[in-house]
Subunit: 422 residues, 2 copies
């Protein structure tokens, strides 16, 4: 099955180089891009052309860290810091997902919002409840969007009403992995909540499961000063936060995404690079929870892989355009703070992180190059125009700064048009 899409195609293949093709052609075969060009080569001439006119065609956004069972808390609790916020807002809400009816209603909203905001792929923390996570995975699979979905594990330092027994946590995780193994577009991911809420035995067991099923792993790292100090108290034998994950075999090379890394020092950065960990940068959340500014400029100089995320509901912006904008602002503020030590990055650099940077974790995702999954958005930015002519570069930046999900008039995943899920 081949199809041709025509429009203004904009994407970033290599950081620092924007590809923008005015009235270009995107040819898709079996869900994969086979040609992207200014002219339509003769072999494709007889194919049906979907013509998007003056609209923009950009890669779908890839949100690599968000907490599904926090959807009802979106935009609340920004007056608290991480540990207080967990106790007061987050844990009580997540505990409600024991109820599958509540789960279904809430996740319908979540998946609609991901769709609306152009997030075609995401990496998700679920709740601790196996059945609720299975339902979430099935619902996303049915929607046509792509995701890694993890069952959260936590067996200590958690409230009585939202905690697991170690053995049961591991059994449920393995059951969950098997139950969703055949779902289209969905992959399981090992998901210890964060070091403070996992016993050594649990972390060790999760490392074993990751190895047994060859799974990827996600967690939190060095988000907040109070949290980093707490981890040090809990594991005095580990020099840095990341060493705890390393000790329990949770750092699988090329297969780990770690959210935040706000307080990662030089040694931690070295390990991020060594294990080729993808950092999920969450500036909106890091502002809301008074966590701080992650050293993204320094990560970049050290060639650490960087992606962007909403961190729902620590972050309240599911539209990654707003996250790109905030990341850019944070980078500039850090640049001032560090007395210009590392160059700050630009809008297009962060757009790269929100698409190809994040997408690498999924394979050939997040770009509109040949051999990449045909995951793209069609943008009608006519309500963002002004009295002057603007380049494609300026139109993309303006969509990022001023646009929202309402400007997205179509979403495609593997070449299939995705309709509003619920």
């Amino acid at each position: 099955m081949k199809k041709v899409y025509r429009g203004n195609i904009v994407f970033i293949k290599k950081m620092g180089e924007l590809t923008s093709i005015k009235n270009g052609y995107l040819v898709v075969e079996n869900g994969v891009i086979v040609s992207v060009d200014k002219v339509l080569s003769r072999e494709y001439e007889n194919l049906e052309i979907v013509d998007f006119g003056n609209k923009l065609i950009i890669p779908g956004f890839v949100d690599i860290h968000l907490h599904a069972p926090q959807i009802n808390n979106l935009g609340l609790g920004a007056d608290l810091e991480l540990l207080d916020w967990l106790e007061k807002y987050t844990f009580p809400e997540e505990a409600k997902y024991r109820d599958l009816n509540y789960t279904e209603k809430s996740y319908s909203t979540l998946i609609n919002k991901l769709w609306e905001n152009g997030t075609t792929s995401s990496i998700i923390f679920g709740s601790i409840f196996k059945d609720s996570n299975i339902l979430l995975s099935k619902m996303i699979s049915r929607s046509g969007l792509k995701a890694y979905v993890g069952k959260v594990n936590m067996d200590k330092n958690s409230p009585d009403y939202y905690i697991e027994e170690t053995e049961q946590s591991l059994i449920d995780t393995e059951d969950y992995i098997n139950e969703i193994s055949k779902l289209k577009n969905i992959r399981p991911i090992i998901t210890p909540r964060f070091v403070p809420s996992c016993s050594k035995k649990l972390m060790y067991g999760l490392g074993e499961l990751a190895k047994k099923y060859d799974l990827k792993i996600q967690s939190h790292l060095s988000e907040n000063i109070g949290e980093v100090e707490w981890v040090k108290e809990l594991h005095p034998d580990c020099e840095n936060y990341i060493d705890v994950y390393e000790k329990y075999n949770l750092l699988r090379k090329d297969k780990v995404v770690m959210a935040h890394c706000v307080w990662s020092n030089k040694e931690e950065i070295k390990k991020l690079k060594e294990y080729n960990i993808t950092v999920a940068h969450a500036p909106v959340s890091n502002g809301n929870l008074a966590s701080g500014i992650a050293p993204i400029n320094e990560f970049k100089e050290n060639r650490v892989n960087i992606g962007l995320c909403s961190d729902l509901s620590g972050g309240h912006e599911l539209f990654l355009g707003k996250v790109i904008k905030e990341a850019e602002t944070f980078g500039k503020l850090k640049w001032i703070n560090d007395k210009n030590k590392y160059n700050y990055l630009t809008t297009l650099d962060y757009f790269y992180f929100a698409t190809k940077g994040s997408g690498k974790f999924f394979g050939n995702v997040g770009s509109l190059e040949e051999n990449y999954d045909a995951d793209f958005l069609v943008i009608d930015d006519s309500d963002l125009s002004d009295l002057n002519d603007r380049s494609l570069d300026e139109r993309l930046k303006r969509f990022i700064y001023l646009g929202n999900g309402k400007n997205i008039i179509a979403r495609y995943v593997n070449g299939i048009k995705i309709e509003k899920p619920f």
Copy 2:
């Protein structure tokens, strides 16, 4: 003419104390609030009631610093710092307002956007062109919104195509003041662009005009490190940036609004307090132009009057909810940076700045207390709700974090409902 409005009334009379009245009554007489209460007192019982049901009634937003002739640049140029941004994006655009046709088209868009975003009062920088500014003032007056509108003055360090002769600048300013003196809801304000673009003679002349007509004054102060150093070079006899304005009689007590104040030191803060200057805090702009974080927490401890602003188009967010959110984030980042020296402020504190804090400059504006101008918004936040019951406090915060102009279903200024202007 008396009228009663019913709904969930939310406002801040005194910083730190939110007034929220579920199903309350707001009584307006001749454009002024005469009663706000949980019950409708007997004397008003026979009046017509406009019932907004479960909607929120909040004060109109007051945006105390924005550049009207930059409306077409909204969301562009965030990759540049202040001085480069002025040369490349700002001056060429402002120069177009010599053309009254361009002026009218562009300002129709601007005024519609202020209306859409619930900005009922604003303090505006125009261009250098007298006639264009007169047209802007007339258009805002016709819309029913309130504004201070200033003709910008600049006679040095400006491009050939956008600069004035000193004498002519002063003559045009005086003409402008007289021309708009009778317009409803509009007041002129003396507007030297900033120290580097004004000669000593021009500043002195503007100070005289301010005195002659008893006018308020607006300008920029200590926005960006490069700018502050430049001012020091230009005026080596002045210890701090603010001293230049003081020297040329441009600091009239209670009558000055200064944008940014990012790099104001202890002595400058002392003068901000001494002259009771209102600081126009512009976090979105200060991020975009890599200016830095204003010491708002410190201003607050020193009882400096603070308001919020979009700083269009250094800032790209005309919805002050987004500016409140960004101000809160900036305050937290500074708190971390300063090792918790000054407490950070909360969402409601910045909501206060965006309403009553900013509104003070206009008189009794920005609150829903008795004797205040009946400038208010009606908010339909039903699309922001979730499966849980939320308090009025949470609903207001969520409107700020997740809402936008689309949630505003009615705007009133002095008790008159304002329809879309253009």
